[in-house]
C-alpha cells in the first residue's frame, strides 16, 4: 500500500499558501483524514438538513458556501505552517444556522440542535477534542467549531429574518 501523500503535495488541504490557490478555501472542508473522519462529519452535516424544512435547505447550502472561505481565512493564522482539513467546522455552521432559523417557529429541534452544539463546544473547551476512531496522526482544532458556530449564528439570523414557509 502506498503511503499517504505529504500534506504539501495535497492540492486540496488548507495551508499557509492558500492565498495563491484560493480553491483550497473551499476544498479543505471536503477532504478528510480517513473514512471514519469523513463519515462522522458527513453524519453531523446531514442532521440539520434533515431537520430543516425543505424550502430552507437551498439557503443553508448557500450559507455554507459563503461560510466556507470565511472559516478557512479565520483558521489560517491558527494553523501556522500546518494544514487543515475536515467538514466539521461547516457542520457547526449548519447546526447553528438551522437551530437559529427553527427557533423562530419555537420548534423543539431548534433547542436540541443549539443545545447539542453548545454542549459540544463546552466539552471541547474544557476537555479537548472528542474521541473518534482513526484520529491518530493529526490534531483536532476545536477553534474551527467555535468559528463555524459563530458564522452559523450569523447566517441563522439572516434565515430567520428573511423567513420561510412556517410549518
Amino acid at each position: 500500500m502506498n503511503p499517504p501523500p505529504p500534506e504539501a503535495v495535497n492540492p486540496f488541504v488548507l495551508e499557509a499558501g492558500a492565498w495563491a490557490q484560493p480553491w483550497r478555501l473551499w476544498t479543505c472542508h471536503l477532504v478528510h483524514f480517513g473514512p471514519w473522519h469523513a463519515l462522522l462529519n458527513l453524519a453531523a452535516l446531514a442532521a440539520p438538513f434533515a431537520v430543516l424544512p425543505r424550502a430552507l435547505r437551498p439557503r443553508l447550502v448557500l450559507g455554507l458556501a459563503l461560510a466556507a472561505p470565511l472559516l478557512s481565512l479565520a483558521l489560517l493564522p491558527l494553523i501556522g505552517d500546518g494544514t487543515y482539513r475536515g467538514a466539521s467546522g461547516l457542520a457547526c455552521t449548519a447546526w447553528a444556522a438551522a437551530g437559529l432559523a427553527l427557533l423562530r417557529d419555537r420548534r423543539p429541534e431548534a433547542l436540541a440542535l443549539l443545545g447539542l452544539l453548545g454542549a459540544k463546544l463546552a466539552w471541547e473547551a474544557f476537555r479537548g477534542a472528542p474521541w473518534m476512531p482513526g484520529g491518530e496522526g493529526w490534531t483536532a482544532l476545536p477553534a474551527a467549531h467555535g468559528i463555524g458556530a459563530l458564522a452559523g449564528l450569523g447566517w441563522g439570523l439572516v434565515l430567520a429574518a428573511r423567513g420561510g414557509p412556517r410549518r
Binding site: 473522519h37 462522522l40 440539520p48 494544514t83 487543515y84 459540544k120
Partner: protein, 287 residues
C-alpha cells in the same frame, strides 16, 4: 639567409600552434562531495547512533559548503561567492516557524575529509544542532565553433565569439543531525547555462557562467528543498521514519500528534446524537 627564413617559419608555426591550441575542446571541473568529506576512509564510516535523532523545535540550523578535497587540483568555490549562495538557502528556511536560527558557516572552517568529528566541532562553535551541507558538481565544456580557424588572423581572437561554452551544475544539500550523526534529508538543484565567447574573454565568460549556473541551481534547490522538508515532516508524522522524531515547543512528539496536521471532527457520540435528532424530525414530519 636560410637561417632567418627558418626562424621566421618556426615562429609562424609556433604562433599557429598556440592559436590553434585555443580551439581544442576543454573541460573545467569543480567538484566537492559530501561522502568524501564525511567518510574520508570508507572502511571507517561511523554508524549513526542506534537511538536515532530527536530534533527539538525550533531548530538551530547551520549551512555550509562542503570544502574542496585536500591536494585537489580543482579550484575551490571562491569565498566571496559562498555567502550569497548560502543566503539563498537561508531564504528557503527563513520564514519557517520551526526554524529558530540559521547560521552561515564558511567552508574554511571545515577541514577537507574532516568527517563528523570536524562537523561536530563547527556545529558546536556556531551553536547549531542540524547542519545542511551543500556540495557542488560543476562541469564547464568549451568547444570551438566551425569558424574558429579565423583566430589565425589574431583579430579574430578578439572579435569572433568562436568558443561555445556549456556549464552544467548540480548542487546537492544533505541535512544531518550532528549529535547523532543521522541523515535527515537531501534535495538537489541543477542548471545548464549555454553561451559563447571570444577566446580572449573565454575564462572571464566561464567565470560569469559558473556564477550564473550556481545561482540558478541554488534557486531550483530551494524549491526542491521546501518539497523535501514537507515530505520529511509527513514521513515523521506517519511514522515512516523510525530513526527520527521531532519534539515541538510544547514538548509534544510530532510522531505522536501527527505534527501540524489539523482537522475538525465530530465524535461518535455527537454524530449519533445528530443522526437521532434527524431521524426524530423525519418521523415527526411523516406523521
Amino acid at each position: 639567409m636560410h637561417l632567418a627564413r627558418f626562424k621566421f617559419l618556426a615562429c609562424a608555426a609556433l604562433a599557429a600552434f598556440t592559436i590553434l591550441g585555443c580551439t581544442h575542446p576543454r573541460t573545467t571541473t569543480h567538484r566537492t562531495g559530501v561522502m568524501d568529506y564525511l567518510y574520508p576512509k570508507r572502511e571507517a564510516a561511523p554508524l549513526p547512533m542506534p537511538g536515532g535523532a530527536r530534533l527539538q523545535l525550533p531548530l538551530r540550523l547551520g549551512i555550509a559548503f562542503v570544502p574542496s578535497p585536500r591536494n585537489s587540483w580543482q579550484p575551490g568555490l571562491p569565498a566571496s561567492s559562498e555567502r550569497p549562495l548560502l543566503e539563498i538557502v537561508r531564504g528557503a528556511f527563513k520564514d519557517k516557524s520551526w526554524v529558530g536560527e540559521i547560521k552561515l558557516i564558511p567552508s574554511t572552517y571545515l577541514t577537507p575529509g574532516g568527517g563528523f568529528d570536524n562537523l561536530q566541532q563547527a556545529a558546536r562553535m556556531y551553536g547549531v544542532d542540524v547542519m545542511a551541507l551543500v556540495s557542488v558538481d560543476q562541469i564547464q565544456y568549451t568547444d570551438p565553433k566551425w569558424y574558429s580557424f579565423a583566430y589565425l588572423t589574431i583579430v579574430g581572437m578578439y572579435t569572433l565569439p568562436g568558443e561555445k561554452n556549456d556549464t552544467r551544475t548540480l548542487i546537492d544539500v544533505a541535512v544531518f543531525d550532528v549529535p547523532t550523526r543521522t541523515f535527515l534529508l537531501r534535495a538537489p538543484g541543477q542548471s545548464n547555462v549555454k553561451g559563447s565567447s571570444t577566446p580572449i574573454h573565454a575564462q572571464e565568460q566561464l567565470r560569469i557562467d559558473s556564477g550564473k549556473g550556481l545561482d540558478l541551481a541554488m534557486r531550483e534547490l530551494t524549491v526542491n528543498l521546501a518539497k523535501e522538508v514537507e515530505a520529511f515532516k509527513a514521513e515523521i508524522a506517519s511514522g515512516a521514519r523510525k530513526d527520527v522524531d521531532v519534539v515541538d515547543r510544547q514538548g509534544q512528539s510530532l510522531r505522536a500528534t501527527g505534527g501540524r496536521s489539523f482537522g475538525g471532527a465530530f465524535g461518535i457520540a455527537e454524530a449519533a446524537a445528530g443522526l437521532a435528532l434527524a431521524a426524530l424530525a423525519l418521523r415527526r414530519r411523516r406523521r
